[in-house]
């Protein structure tokens, strides 16, 4: 039986992610764990995350999750979700600039309190269902219509423009990276576990993806 480890570094609810994976991949053993041995043995890994980056990175460093993520992503698929995606970037403007794991070169920026689309002011957090346009042909996008909506909730983003690893683009005042991908890593700003059909399809694709 294949196993999937969801890295538990104490930041928020992992119940929804594990239940969603169990639903789409009934023959995969899903472990929510902080045990490095279990994570090393898993066939694929999810790095989730909610809350503020300072606290997330503090726990990631304290538990050695940064090295573990670098290690396991070298030879098996890894999915980053929301702050779990942001943690893979070089650094984040949140909490007065926090250094992140730096597997992707992008910086994570604040939407700001004066975000606009034409004359219309946009609310921050970017909260709700927005369209994701696929910019690469990737197995994780399999059977998901281009432009399908996913659920977002975030105030910080990685920029789409000039992003060498962009896999999906969403517009909210500016173009943001909804997804990035390189080698064995696929990471999304939205919450697939809360994105109904499209999100469940994405998780199913991830479980079937064998990596680069």
């Amino acid at each position: 039986m294949k196993t999937l480890a969801i890295i538990d570094y104490g930041m928020g609810n992992l119940h929804s992610v594990s239940k969603a994976v169990e639903l789409v991949a009934p023959d995969t053993r899903v472990l929510v764990t902080s045990d490095p041995a279990q994570i090393r043995e898993a066939d694929r890994v999810i790095l989730p995350g909610v809350g503020a980056i300072r606290d997330c990175m503090a726990e990631i460093l304290r538990l050695g999750v940064d090295d573990l993520v670098r290690e396991v992503s070298a030879d098996r698929p890894l999915l980053g979700i929301c702050v779990g995606m942001q943690a893979l970037m070089s650094r984040s403007e949140e909490n007065g600039w926090v250094d992140c794991i730096n597997l992707f070169p992008s910086e994570v920026r604040f939407f700001g309190n004066h975000l606009k689309e034409g004359d219309v002011r946009l609310k921050v957090p970017h909260m709700g269902w927005n369209e994701v346009y696929q910019t690469t042909d990737h197995p994780v996008w399999h059977n998901i219509p281009d432009g399908d909506r996913f659920y977002f909730v975030h105030s910080y983003y990685a920029e789409a423009e000039g992003n060498p690893d962009i896999a999906g683009r969403t517009h909210y005042g500016i173009d943001i990276a909804a997804a990035v991908a390189r080698d064995n890593i696929f990471a999304v700003q939205f919450h697939p576990e809360k994105s109904h059909r499209a999100g469940l399809q994405l998780l199913k694709n991830f479980v079937q993806w064998t990596g680069a």
Partner: protein, 257 residues
């Protein structure tokens, strides 16, 4: 193409059962919140809000258990409110599978609680419920005040100032209910919705008074809300979520199909 405006059915839950009744033809147990939520999920609801209206100490365990069951079967965002007073209450609800929690009375009595909660769990999961009632007379400039205890107790707090204070404290979203309109089916208080929505930088959910589909569209177009919440028009099968979305779309509102 942009962010979709959200339609949020709301379940009032007492001791683990949906109250005020739900009347769907193809549902086995209309009182089970998980069944009702699953039905709305299938219909394409954008989120579910679960209000624990007893919120007594004894019913908490039932609530955690219900939230856990719901989060195992319904893969859209879930907000849980009712009787949240401590950081520990929030932690338990988030661990059970809630994505957001709605804080109401506790914020009025202890505004710092909102800051503490947002610092601890992130603004993205802290919704502050605002129950407001118009206190200005005919012909006066409109003014709304915050009420507690189901609209019975005035607090002397101005609704707009309060909304700004709550977002300063870290609320990531406001659930705005007009106590004048709640249960009347005469539509949202659009002046209130517009005033709060224009004042704050965070998303606003309009609530209280929906009786027909035009009210939902008005909440977005005239009230400037980012999401609309309703209970009875959906519960009794008067309208389905797809009908509401088709209606809103026909008025030019961006919705998720």
């Amino acid at each position: 193409m942009a962010l979709a405006k959200r339609i949020i059915p709301c379940l009032d839950v007492e001791k683990g059962r949906v109250v005020k009744g739900v009347n769907f033809v193809d549902i086995r147990d209309a009182g089970d919140p998980v069944e009702v939520a699953r039905k709305y999920n299938e219909q394409g609801a954008d989120e579910i809000t679960f209000l624990d209206i007893t919120a007594s100490h004894e019913s908490r365990d039932t609530t955690y258990e219900t939230v856990e069951r719901m989060a195992s079967e319904v893969f859209i965002p879930l907000t849980v409110g009712g009787g949240i007073r401590t950081v520990d209450d929030i932690r338990k609800l988030l661990n059970a599978g809630a994505d957001k929690v709605a804080i109401n009375t506790a914020a009025v009595f202890n505004p710092d609680f909102v800051r503490e909660a947002a610092d601890r769990f992130g603004s993205q999961c802290i919704v502050v419920s605002i129950d407001a009632k118009r206190v200005s007379g005919e012909g006066e400039p409109p003014r709304w005040e915050i009420f507690t205890h189901g609209g019975r107790k005035p607090t002397g707090l101005d609704a707009i100032e309060w909304a700004l204070k709550m977002t300063d404290m870290g609320a990531g979203e406001l659930l705005l209910t007009s106590m004048d309109r709640d249960g009347t089916k005469s539509g949202f208080d659009l002046a209130l919705t517009r005033a709060i929505s224009d004042a704050v930088a965070v998303p606003v959910i309009a609530s209280g008074g929906v009786g027909e589909l035009q009210h939902l569209a008005d909440g977005i177009i005239l009230g400037g809300a980012d999401a609309v919440l309703a209970a009875s028009i959906f519960h009794f099968g008067q309208f389905s979520i797809p009908e509401a979305k088709a209606f809103m779309k026909a008025q030019g509102i961006e919705v998720r199909d």
